[in-house]
Amino acid sequence: MTLSPHASPAPTWAGDALDGAVRWSTCTDRRYSRSVVDDVGETPGRSGLEASFANGGDRAVRLAYDRYGSLVYTFCRRTVGHHDAAEIAQDVFVAAWRAQQSYDPGRGSLGGWLMAVARNKVIDHLRRQGRRPLTDAYADSASIPGLRNDDVDMVANRMLLAEALGELTPRAREVVELAFLQDLTHEQIAAKTHLPLGTVKSDVRRSLPLLHRTLAGLSSGGIHE
């Protein structure tokens, strides 16, 4: 297991796929990643959005969609499948829009809050359909009767943790991975990475609250409709 987004397999630079003439004809106007680019890392963008979301009006919702739309949509796709993912993800953001002022940044991350809304929507949807989520263990058995909410929760937690790790600097992410996965002490991490001990401690001290806060958003429960 790895916590690295691109650790394996390595990206395949399919030059062969470009051997043919790629026509520069038309393309879509998809720009969903713009605000994500702006907010990579522990920049004020993330905390600023969370602080202003409740009273930020329509623009704040749009910014939240730009930042977390792919997270929510992917979560829905993984738990309910392609066919219903878009509808559920839409419901999530509609509900979030209507309940915008109920988001409390003091209780956790905005991403976690949205994922809490998504989790509840997914569970409701699956319950109505009487089937289990399409999590890893049930990827090929969408029709298995019964529902395990903990499966949905675990996927949401894992994706949120990945989201938070993705916001760390590569150095901090490596330190956190060593601390979590290999259970190394600060001193061992410093020796292994050749980083100053103070840097290791600083990375850990700054990173763990971010991870915790991100997951706490999910625990906040989302919207009670």
Partner: protein
């Protein structure tokens, strides 16, 4: 390791984090792009005017990317070269950037681009010469997929140097590096006015 040596503090539930971290897989970092129509559907269902929100495209103009430059393979593609900059900073793909067939606004422009793996993340290292300056416009950096349908904006051009590729974006899926002139009209789509372009390859 002693508890007081363990990373973290009392305010963080380490056991909870560890329990989740132990199950994280590469799939958890992957992200799908929502359907292009999703935002409009959300706004419609919420009874809100999607088009009045500043960051939403006010017009859905059709984008034409350099009609004259129809063949990507004509661009200079540096192949087979992997330059090591150290164990944690590797050039995994690169390309020359050319104005051939593109907007005459960038006729004097050229450059090169590198996709660099830095630890577990990626950056685009850009080096463009003679970047034009147009009134009421700015220059923007893009990664585009092979089908010329998916585009990732890396933001406004801020000089030669590194541009962060968002986590979760596989740069191998967006190998086309494009630099364009964008009018400052608030329309967040590609203008179709590209000044240089290339296809990154290993």
């Amino acid at each position: 390791m002693n508890d007081n040596q363990r990373p973290g503090g009392a305010e963080v539930d380490l056991a909870h984090l560890r329990a989740i971290a132990g199950h994280v897989t590469d799939d958890d970092f992957e992200r799908d792009v929502p359907p292009a129509s999703m935002w409009s559907a959300i706004a419609a269902n919420a009874g809100r005017p999607a088009n009045n929100i500043a960051v939403v495209p006010r017009t859905r103009r059709r984008v034409w990317l350099g009609v004259a430059a129809v063949v990507v393979t004509g661009l200079g593609i540096a192949g087979g070269l992997v330059v090591s900059r150290g164990a944690r900073d590797d050039v995994i793909a690169e390309t020359a950037l050319s104005n051939e067939g593109l907007s005459p606004l960038g006729s004097a422009s050229s450059g090169k681009a590198e996709i660099i793996r830095r630890g577990t993340s990626y950056v685009l290292h850009l080096d463009v010469s003679r970047v034009p300056s147009e009134p009421a416009s700015y220059v923007e950096v893009w990664l585009i997929d092979r089908q010329v349908k998916g585009m990732i904006s890396l933001g406004p051009y801020h000089g030669n140097g590194d541009y962060v590729i968002p986590s979760g974006v596989d740069p191998a899926k967006f190998p086309i590096v494009d630099v364009s002139i964008e009018p400052s009209d608030g329309v967040p789509t590609h203008s179709g006015v590209s000044i240089v372009r290339g296809v990154a390859a290993a």
